[in-house]
Symmetry: C2
């Protein structure tokens, strides 16, 4: 399974075998069953998670109990509550499993250690962070512009796989629309 991580890192920076072994030794594997939590709101966030298999979602629950979906995470994606992780604070988000999920956990201490020791890894994480920033900028633009149909189409284009694996109610929550509105988009898309 660790070859998934190696391929993932080497899309940005090549590593020797011994470098990769060293990097990998800073991660710890964990398995979660469907509906289990990787992070619960209020907990101290110890880890960033690299998903090896399965599917998770991160979401915020507001004072009225309404859930707002922040992000999905599947094979080859990173996910955590980054605000809490980078600042070593208590989670505002929940992350739970839509499917049985295997992850590699990376503590902030180990991330910083790897970045300090290996310039290559500092480079890797800077590139990942830049890409993450750009994805969030895109999400904000689509939320501000507030055209749910466009949000639906761009999600479908970026992550067609999600639509096979994620219940429609969650897709609707991610897009910030009702389940009924989503159905209208789906049937329009089917006609194309």
């Amino acid at each position: 399974m660790s070859t998934i991580l190696r391929k993932h890192i080497e899309r940005i920076t090549p590593l020797t075998d011994s470098e990769f072994d060293y990097v990998l030794a800073h991660f710890s594997p964990r398995s979660f069953k469907k509906q289990q939590y990787l992070i619960q709101e209020g907990e101290l966030v110890q880890n960033d998670f690299f998903v090896l298999s399965g599917l998770v979602k991160s979401y915020y629950t507001n004072a009225d109990g309404k859930e707002h979906l922040m992000q999905f995470g599947m094979e080859d994606w990173w996910i955590t509550d980054y605000q809490a992780y980078f600042n070593q604070q208590h989670a505002q988000l929940n992350i739970d499993c839509i499917e049985n999920t295997q992850v590699l956990c990376l503590s902030l201490h180990n991330r910083e250690k790897l970045c300090a020791e290996l310039h290559k890894m500092e480079h890797f994480f800077r590139k990942k962070s830049n890409a993450g920033y750009v994805a969030l900028q895109r999400r904000i633009l689509s939320l501000l512009n507030n055209n749910a149909q466009e949000r639906y189409e761009s999600l479908l284009k970026l992550y067609p796989e999600l639509f096979q694996r994620v219940p429609k109610t969650l897709i609707a929550s991610y897009l910030g629309v009702s389940r009924e509105t989503l159905s209208r988009f789906s049937s329009k898309a089917d006609l194309k």
Copy 2:
């Protein structure tokens, strides 16, 4: 003026005099007058901008001509259209000046060169990118949660200076509310 940049970098990583001189040589200074553009939609985005003085805004104009404010930038802040900058694409955003503005420009080529040559600078830019990611995550949560009063209060707390310098119509646009709604929040806040 370059001491602003040095202080800014040294909040994350100390530099020797010669290191800083070397870094600074990769930036080029530019001045813009009020209402001039740093970036116009459709242009190739060459630079990231570190603001030395003044105040700018980045925004997206949708098909109906409605402007959605993405970000403000003032002294000690970085601003560009990051999606276009990192991918060397054409700008989706506009960035223009609310006040006369002086910036230091950093091309993507020079940014990558500095990061490759100086591990310290790779570290600096990774940390800035992480902080930027967290700020955008916070913004998305507030947009999803869609409580404009809370968005107003958190902006006021984070950037009290903005409220002295930025026209109320722009604050309203940033929050995604009407000018009238903003006035209600302002008068409530004054009563506290």
